[in-house]
Amino acid sequence: MRLSDKIMILSLIFIFTASVSLAADIKIGVAEALTGPIAKYGVPIKNGFTLAVEEINAAGGINGNKIKLIIEDEQGKKEEAINVFKKFIFRDKVLAIFGPTLSNSAFAADPVANAGRTVVFGTSNTAEGITAIGPYVFRNSVAEADILPRVVSIAKKKLGIKKVAIMYGNDDSFTKSGYDVFKKAVEAENLQVVATETFSKGDIDFSAQITKIKGLNPDAIICSALVEEAANIILQARKLGIPASIHFIGGNGFNSSKLSEIAGKAAEGAISGSPWFLDDTNKKNQSFVKAYRKKFSSDPDQFAAQAYDALYIMAEAIKKVKFTGDLEKDRTSLRDELAKVKNFSGVGGKFSFNENRDAEQKGRVLIVKDKKFTIFSE
């Protein structure tokens, strides 16, 4: 047999088994960026989902039905996200969709799901206005608008901050949204902003911004950045002589073990806010982190935790859906059940959807101590 024959036969078998196995499950589409520069966020999200599904299926599924995830790569590009969504809705006939990774893609793809009357559940879209797209759009990504003002206010009280400098990535909607929230919070707390500096995605050198900030002597530096950039900024700031007494305050982007992994000792004292953190001692989280480490041999980050919780939230709603066999009706009743989810307890604590289908979850203010996030204030 020639190689090409083998490949053909193998792929036929693959397609056959895939289609057979699909037929017997509750299908949920997962559209995340799995290749390209955004993949570093998309992959942990996918991991969170797969871990949760394995656990649920191992425990017998939902009312006896197994969940089958159909995972597609949307590369962090809006056209790809739309294509994947359409494939899920019209060809794979999924019950609901998770994703996409970026808010930008969500703005493009979520209207498709909403028009197709299919639930779309975002776990990493933080931009304002995502759920306003329509009644089928849900998310459990932490609303930074709730937590960050608390972070700022507590940091101000506990550390006696008066002057701050702000740094953020201005070509990314995640970090830009975070900045907008910080800016309001800083104004509300009457803090003086000595400098606002920006950088771009993929930047590695922040020395110019930091040198400028150093000259202005702020009491703290607020930094809306994703973890790789955040870690590098902190590290470079310490190298350039900004002392450890000047704390870094960040949003969701900080909340990853990568922060200390990359920045090392420099990350000590960095402050962030989130309902979830790696070393939270609640039982659910402990077992989640353990299972995640075992399966993927790395630490979960906030994105993975949110994805993990999202799948359990979805399962909770699916449990209550009375399946009619009519996909359109089932999708709509799933939407209705999902909107009713209240007081779900997950790895990130108690969770409810508010009337806008946004996350309602209590955030905690965290600080890095001995390379780990610990609670700075409940």
């Binding site: 290749t35 390209g36 520069p37 993949a39 570093k40 998309g42 992959v43 201005n170 500096e197 920006t198 950088f199 771009s200 993929g202 930047d203 590695i204 050198d205 020395s207 110019a208 911004q209 040198t211 400028k212 150093k214 000259g215 790789e228 870690a231 590098n232 590290l235 190298k239 350039l240 002589g241 990568k258 992994e261 990359i262 920045a263 090392g264 790395s298």
Partner: protein, 293 residues
């Protein structure tokens, strides 16, 4: 503060320059803009990382390992994607598109192996010493990077000026047909150039990884974009031009953040390149070709 910013600009600019000299050398000799140079840069960084974490090599051996690995990669890219296209008269951009294909394959494989996340060199490996001179903070690492970059660049220039192979390379860059008539093994020169250029790209990758602690599959993208700007600004194929261009870009990025606004850093840097090109249509060191009949 101004002096500190100059130090910052030097450190950033020297990495740009090191990336760009290999890039421009390939263009000067092979007349191909190899868009796989960013991928080579990334592979160099990972090779250095593996040399350190798996084989416990020191900084210099790690750089040499990485240069060897990325040099070989450059040789393979040339052999597979560029060589078949120089034999006949094809669209002059065909080799460039072929290198895009290579870059896609390499990054895709790299993601398969290393995933999408960022890595860094071990803490105890990276020198953390820093010197305070007046107001300026200079880390030992920065000095090492500036030092290694410049010595590699000077070595390259000496190789080109002094050695037999260097002369052959320059002859081929000048006119490959005449060089072939003079008995220079042109094909061999192409291979050596690809190897050397890519090795320099790999060295830039390791140094970037050391200084900026962000080694990941997609690290080649932003620097490729800037590298193109640098080599064209300096004058295509001109090594001094690439060095000057790298430093100019480093300075314009740092200084626009320092004294204008970080919001407009890229617009200022690229706008500046745009203006320089309008004044010097073939770059700073490029010869202005007179139109001839």
């Amino acid at each position: 503060m101004f002096l500190q910013q100059i130090a910052n600009a030097l450190a950033l600019g020297s990495v740009y320059a090191l990336f760009a000299i290999g890039f421009t050398l390939i263009f000067g000799v092979l007349e191909v803009i190899t868009l796989a140079h960013g991928a080579v840069f990334m592979v160099g960084a990972f090779a250095g990382l593996i040399a350190v974490t798996r084989f416990n090599l020191g900084i210099i051996p790690a750089i040499l390992t990485s240069m060897l690995a990325s040099g070989l990669l450059g040789f393979i890219i040339d052999f597979v994607a560029v060589r078949p296209l120089r034999k006949k008269k094809y669209h002059h951009l065909a080799p460039m598109i072929a290198t895009i294909g290579c870059a896609t394959i390499i990054t895709s494989i790299s993601q398969g192996i290393f995933g999408a996340e960022a890595y860094r060199f071990p803490f105890d490996f990276v020198p953390t010493k820093s010197y305070e001179i007046g107001d300026i903070q200079l880390t030992l690492l920065q000095l090492v990077i500036i030092g290694i970059s410049f010595s590699l660049m000077i070595m390259l220039i000496l190789l080109l000026k002094r050695t037999k192979w260097g002369k052959a390379v320059r002859a081929v860059a000048e006119n490959r047909r005449t060089a072939a008539l003079l008995g220079i093994p042109v094909e061999r020169v192409f291979q050596i150039t690809s190897f050397t250029s890519s090795a320099l790209g790999g060295a830039a990758g390791v140094l970037t990884g050391l200084n900026f602690n962000a080694i990941h599959t997609y690290m080649g993208g932003p620097i490729l974009h800037r590298g193109i700007a640098v080599i064209i600004l300096g004058g295509m194929g001109d090594i001094r031009g690439a060095m000057a261009g790298g430093l100019i870009l480093g300075f314009s990025e740092i200084m626009s953040v320092a004294y204008i606004s970080s919001d407009f850093r890229d617009a200022i840097s690229f706008g500046l390149l745009f203006l320089i090109l309008l004044i010097r249509p073939s770059g700073i060191f490029g010869k202005v070709p007179e139109r001839k009949g």
